[in-house]
């Protein structure tokens, strides 16, 4: 398992740049995705990491009301980077977290119809809670790092566009 520093330095840097470049290649840097919005995203990621998806969803709804498709798709991109799944989203923070998770927190699959004892049910409940605690801590540690990379690369593309 990579340390947070190494993960941030390698996989996060690469995936953040890929996501931004992919969006910019298709949509350019729309005027409505402003520096203020990028700084807002960064602020939320640093101060309320587990609220990033909610923030992105809210911004997406506002863009929909304004019929701003480019901006809406930007926030869709941010949402997918939070918890998107393959094949539509080849990489997301949730997928990264699941790969990093200790094996004992993945839990065991239960066959359909299989009845569990009280002890087994309690054990599954404990594992589920431990998993949620682990994910919460992972997101708090890693969301700021990832979105720092993402926002920096978007600002770079915006600056080179001349806006």
């Amino acid at each position: 398992m990579l340390s947070p520093e190494v993960l941030s330095d390698t996989e996060f840097a690469e995936q953040a740049a890929l996501a931004v470049d992919s969006y910019v290649t298709e949509h350019g840097c729309p005027k409505t995705v402003t520096r203020a919005q990028i700084y807002g995203l960064l602020h939320v990621a640093k101060n309320q990491p587990t609220s990033v998806k909610q923030f992105a969803g809210h911004q997406k709804q506002r863009a929909e009301k304004r019929n701003d498709e480019d901006q809406r798709l930007f926030w869709v991109c941010v949402e997918q980077l939070c918890d998107g799944s393959p094949p539509r989203t080849p990489w997301s923070l949730q997928q990264c977290a699941e790969r990093s998770m200790p094996p004992e927190l993945h839990g065991e699959d239960v066959a359909p119809g299989e009845k569990l004892s009280l002890e087994q049910r309690q054990r599954r409940s404990e594992v589920k809670k431990a998993r949620q605690r682990w994910l919460f801590a992972w997101y708090n540690e890693h969301y700021p790092q990832f979105f720092q990379r993402f926002c920096a690369h978007y600002l770079y593309r915006l600056g080179m566009k001349g806006d």
Partner: protein
């Protein structure tokens, strides 16, 4: 922080030495883009900030982000950074590639090599920048 082997350290230092020409040109480019405060005889705050971030960063990507953020601001300094920023980023990319070549089996050791390369790199680049300031000052005195 992981401790590098003498061989890894030597390989990193040798690489920076071999890049002397390229780093000199970048230092000159920094001088052309940022100049210096001729009245107060102070180096550019942008160059000083670059040096500071490189020396204090615990993640190599923080250095890259610093340059990208500076290039992306809608300010006068952003236009200066846009003159040299892509070259700086290409240099940093080269350091990443070199670190992967020096160490290929340990992500932590690669990370340590990246940072060592970055710190040696910025010393060389800023040295050239400072030399250019000295040359400019000497020219003024002899004019």
């Amino acid at each position: 922080m992981i401790t590098l082997t003498p061989e890894q350290t030597a390989a990193a230092d040798r690489f920076i030495d071999e890049q002397h020409g390229r780093l000199g040109r970048l230092g000159e480019s920094l001088f052309e883009a940022f100049r210096y405060d001729e009245n107060k005889k102070r180096v550019s705050a942008q160059v000083r900030n670059l040096q500071q971030i490189v020396c204090s960063a615990t993640r190599f990507a923080d250095i890259e982000d610093f340059v990208k953020n500076q290039m992306g601001k809608g300010t006068a300094s952003a236009r200066q950074w846009q003159q040299v920023g892509d070259t700086v980023l290409e240099n940093l990319k080269l350091l990443r590639q070199k670190a992967a070549g020096i160490v290929d089996e340990s992500p932590d050791a690669q990370h340590a090599v990246r940072l060592r390369l970055a710190r040696s790199w910025v010393r060389a680049v800023v040295s050239e920048y400072l030399y250019r300031i000295a040359c400019a000052e000497m020219e003024k005195r002899h004019a």
